[in-house]
């Protein structure tokens, strides 16, 4: 029950993009085409889940015992930045195909605030290790859901007759507004 609560809350009710405003840059930036959106989504899922897990262990294992919680921001961002580097190197060696499709998104992920944001949130809530990994993974699923929905609509928008000042970016924000309004309907689903 507890687990289902975390899942539904992370994916729908407190969706990273629509309710928490995390990861807006890639959300607007790489959502013009459906397949790049999906690629970005998977890269985010990978780094977010792994990053949160490592950050959790370091936080509880080093920062708390030595009472240096104020180093949290510096440490987490270093974990994420180095993780991105490692993933890039490993991916390059192991799978050329995967690297070709995900590679270009990886550097962008370091400055994706959803990753750092979720890592901090997963530590703030009273989650145990398993729950915080679960929370991170399903937050990423929420991000995929948001970006894929959005990219699908944007592909259609290209052929739509939009007033000139609203072309491209402004109309995308208006669409995002309507989507986030739809997601507000999920509130109350989790008590």
């Amino acid at each position: 029950m507890e687990i289902l609560l975390i899942v539904v809350s992370a994916v729908f009710v407190n969706n990273v993009v629509f309710a928490r405003f995390l990861g807006i840059c890639p959300y607007i930036g790489v959502s013009k085409k459906l397949d790049t959106a999906i690629g970005m989504g998977f890269a985010v899922t990978f780094v977010m889940t792994l990053g949160s897990a490592i950050a959790y262990l370091l936080y509880k294992g080093i920062l708390v015992p030595y009472k240096i919680e104020f180093m949290q921001t510096v440490m987490f961002i270093l974990v994420i930045a180095s993780l991105v580097q490692v993933v890039e190197i490993v991916l390059k060696k192991v799978s050329k195909v995967l690297y070709a499709s995900l590679g270009i998104f990886l550097p962008l992920i370091t400055t994706n605030c959803a990753i750092l944001g979720v890592a901090i949130l997963a530590n703030q809530g009273d989650y145990n290790f398993f729950e915080s990994v679960l929370f991170s993974f399903f937050s990423a699923m929420g991000f995929i859901l948001a970006i894929v929905l959005f990219a699908g609509i944007r592909e259609k928008l290209e052929t739509a007759d939009v007033p000139t000042p609203f072309k491209n970016v402004p109309i995308s924000f208006v669409v995002a507004a309507i989507l986030s309004m739809a997601f507000m309907g999920f509130s109350g689903l989790v008590k």
């Binding site: 807006i24 400055t111 901090i120 995308s172």
Partner: protein, 201 residues
């Protein structure tokens, strides 16, 4: 001199980090429910940008290329933590309303962007001017959006009521959809203005 002025002013409109370059959007959307929050976030970000631009332009030659980005990130994260602690100490109310978004200044892509694209290639003097220009441009955009959302959504500005107690307001402007739509309309308005200027010239 003319050069410096140009570096300073371009952050306001022509290269505004939010309205033109679409950088650092998360805090722009998340904390702009009241003008006070918008201003606070803008100034905190400006402070971090000022610190990181200064340190990075001063130390650019000492940093080997391979570890450049991690080093920048550590510098930025350090300044962010300083701001975080200072806000907690001297303005706990602001800390309560900005919350998570203070540590997230680290990943505001505008800051890393300016470090990489400007501060690492220019002298300290110009980097400081650039930080002020971009920082104020960022603050300006935040203030614009947050004032609009506060007036329409809560009927107040800087917590001063405009239309009496308990007004009927466009509540959705204070909610997430209002942030997206508000920014969309501001950018569209700017586009329309620019087009008009061009056709006049």
């Amino acid at each position: 001199m003319k050069d410096a002025l140009q570096v300073f002013t371009r952050g306001f409109v022509s290269e505004n980090p939010v309205l033109k370059m679409l950088l650092g959007l998360c805090p722009v959307l998340a904390v702009t429910t009241t003008a006070e929050n918008g201003l606070g976030m803008g100034l905190a970000t400006t402070f971090v940008l000022l610190g990181s631009n200064t340190v990075i332009s001063a130390s650019a030659k000492l940093l080997p290329k391979t570890v450049r980005i991690p080093a920048y990130i550590v510098v930025i994260a350090t300044f962010v933590t300083i701001v975080d602690l200072l806000i907690k100490a001297f303005s706990p109310e602001l800390n309560q309303s900005l919350g998570l978004f203070i540590p997230l200044i680290v990943v505001n892509c505008m800051i890393l962007g300016r470090a990489e694209a400007y501060a690492s290639k220019n002298g300290i003097g110009y980097s400081i001017i650039d930080a002020f220009g971009m920082g104020f441009g960022f603050t300006f955009a935040l203030l614009l959006l947050s004032a609009m959302r506060e007036v329409l959504g809560a009927g107040t500005i800087f917590n001063i009521p405009l239309v009496g107690e308990d007004p009927k307001t466009i509540l959705v402007m204070a909610l997430p959809p209002g942030a997206f739509a508000g920014l969309g309309f501001i950018i569209a308005g700017l586009n329309a203005l620019e087009k008009k200027q061009k056709s006049n010239a």
